[in-house]
Amino acid sequence: MYNGGKIIAGLIIFIALVTFPFYTNMGKTIEKPADPTAAADELHIGNVPIGQMRAEHMMILDKWRDEVVRGGERFITFDGDQYEKSIQNGCLACHSKQDFCGKCHNFAGVNPYCWNCHYSSEEDQL
């Protein structure tokens, strides 16, 4: 081979970059977030099945935000009760930011910008 040293060095660097996920995870056992307990066909606030909520909650929250901010429709009735369409006073009343939202978001590397504005009493910071 001509210029063998340079070519082999380049190849080694290339292989090292490409196989990065394999050697950095060597021997690890990955704990995925615990499976959610609620059944996928159970209805959640807004009469949305929980399965759909899991997949599309970000779009539903976005829609609710528009309804609140632009339409002034602050409340939603579900199963006879009134719920506020709000992250702080609604979602976080039952769900925990870190254990509920964060669990999957962190695992999947999702970076929602909800928390740029919204307050979570759990962390006591904006």
């Binding site: 001509y2 070519i7 990955i30 970000m58 929602p112």
Partner: protein
Amino acid sequence: MGMIFSLVAVIFLAAIAFMGAKLNLFGLFGVAIPYLAVLVFIAGFIRKVIKWGQSPVPFHIPTTCGQQKSLPWIKQSKLDNPSTTLGIIGRMALEVLLFRSLFRNLKTHRTDGGPVYGSNKWLWLGGLAFHVTFFVVFIRHLRFFTEPVPAWVNTLDVVDGFVQVGVPHMLITGVVLLAAATYLLLRRIFNPQVKYISLPADYFPLFLIIGIAVSGILMRYFIKVDIIKVKELTMGLATFKTTVPDGIGGIFFIHLFLISVLFAYFPFSKLMHLGGVFMSPTRNLANNSREVRHINPWNPKVKLHTYEEYEDEFREVMKSEGLPVEKE
């Protein structure tokens, strides 16, 4: 013809993956084929580069685009006509990162007064946009192959989505990648000269990459898949503790299968310019042929008979004939 063939081939591949997912062949399409594809990619890449490394370079053939190194009072164009290794590295870096030679692309117009040459940067812009965004998209996917996800991968995602359009936030690179790949395809279709020289090997990777981009974009914004299960699968691949979770969704297997095809196809296609650009003698040789002699490795061994040997052989005869000799 080549275009239709390539399009049909990619649609056929997507259909295979979709059928596979429908038939619950998750182990085959989620584990076996991706592993095989990565293996073929790495082994094929090495084989090709070694093969190129074994090819001799008979002539010293750097392409030069500026004043070569000459007398001290003549200014050398150090990047366009490098004579040192450092210059080569600079030139190669600009070529690989900014496609400098493509920036010189010209378009010729016929006029009554003769040809007119005008600047034509569209191919440079489209090509650069395509490569840069594909690279960023590739790096962004590390979120599926690392746990915990490194902060810089998350930062890349935030920066990429900083226009904050819609939810999940629109990633600029995904959109630009699809637009640029589409431009590169349309260029092959609507530019008659380019169309004339386009082969299935040109259309196929484009359709394949467009297919990958479309399936990825669909999955992110429109046809949702269970991303936690996707990461479970990908982390299983990365840790060699494979799992095949149920119910991810067919579109994911289309995406994964098209990527597997891209990986496996890579070493046997024009996509090998990834490695080849570094091995191009026109780019990686310094223009120093007046300082350093380039020996053609093909040169046969020539049996030399030097003047000294000649004189040794005929000294007595030469002397007897009165011819001058160097050694007595």
